[in-house]
């Protein structure tokens, strides 16, 4: 199935996406990232109130015999966590940009997302790296 990279979202080089609404950033992993990992079996996420730092790990996901760290594309405070993923991490595989969202972060300023990639530049990066 063809991978999807919706316009209107921002993307990080470590394969997370961000949906910005004011000072709030909803974060998930891209369709490319979920396909690379295969069927997810566990996801560890931060708690509400935790601080996350741009470029630093904020969680870990696990598929069949592989774990991978999740990196926050922005800095800020975690205000929501997708608790549905505890029982059903496969939601990330099924709907990475919808029900498979991971966390919502309140950013000190929307400037936090400066430097993230558009869908087009993310796809170009994947092509340059020979991964698409």
């Amino acid at each position: 199935m063809e991978l999807r990279f919706p316009d209107g979202l921002l993307y990080s080089p470590t394969h997370e996406w961000v949906r910005v609404e004011g000072n709030f950033a909803t974060i998930g992993i891209t369709d490319f990232a979920q396909r690379e990992m295969g069927e997810l079996t566990y996801i560890e996420l931060p708690d509400v109130g935790d601080h996350v730092e741009a470029g630093q790990p904020f969680g870990v996901m696990d598929s069949v015999k592989a774990s991978e760290e999740l990196y926050s594309p922005v800095s800020g405070t975690v205000v929501k966590v997708n608790n549905q993923l505890v029982d059903n991490p496969g939601l990330v595989n099924q709907d990475p940009y919808g029900d498979g969202w991971l966390i919502v972060v309140e950013m000190p300023s929307p400037d936090e997302v400066r430097g993230l990639l558009t869908a087009q530049s993310y796809v170009e990066m994947l092509r340059r790296e020979g991964r698409l």
């Binding site: 470590t14 690379e36 295969g38 069949v64 015999k65 592989a66 774990s67 760290e69 020979g130 991964r131």
Partner: protein, 272 residues
Amino acid sequence: MGEFVRLLIDEPADGAWNIAVDEAILRAASVRWGITTVRLYMWCRPTISAGYFTRLDEELLNRCKRDGIDVVRRLSGGGIVLHDDEVTYSVVFPKSLIGECSVLAAYRLISKGVVIGLRRLGIEARLVCDGLVSADGQDDEVRACKESHKRLSDQFCYAVRSPTDIVVGSMKLVGSAQARCKGAILQHGSVPLRWDEEMLCRLFGNGIIEGRAFTSLEELLLNKPSVDEVVEALCIGFEKAFAQRLQVGMLSEEEINLAIKLMERKWIFRCE
């Protein structure tokens, strides 16, 4: 890939150091494009390593304490491994080494080296997910393994079938796990020279060996090979898989310092 693959052959060490060194190499490689590293190592006493998400039950931990078996936590996925009479391999490589670096693609690359090495020893091994008809790996054998993995991820790794196992016939010989950070991937796995069935039963119960579907080099070759023979065969295997020569090297100062920092976090407990 660089011009060569760095080779580290380490003396037997305790569990926390062994696991911390693998993670230190991965973390150092993940922040800068590094060379590929192949590390071969042993364990100075029996040790259980648990996967990142493995839940360890109290009874097993008590049995480990009773029997003087160390317990450590890996960064990688997968279940519970008993490291005893084995050679452990670890490979850290930049994701740029292969265009498609999905979990299964990375397993195929690294396991190729292990499989070639085993063939040098006279063992016809294969990676379960290799040679599948469908590109997404969704054949029946892999699907069955995934189901098994989901049910038994907190169990002894060798009692669970996975698409990433290296098998001989229907017997599991090599279990492996991966950890992935930014730009690099670590894969490590166990090549058991001999299983101590008594120890397995004491830890996991008698059921673990009844009709077991895992094996060792000694059982397959009817003679236990030496550590040196296995190390040499694996070196040849990785050299062929990467089409690069292996060059004996050492840990950098950065990797050593990082491993020292990580080591304390790796212990669940130690028995001395």
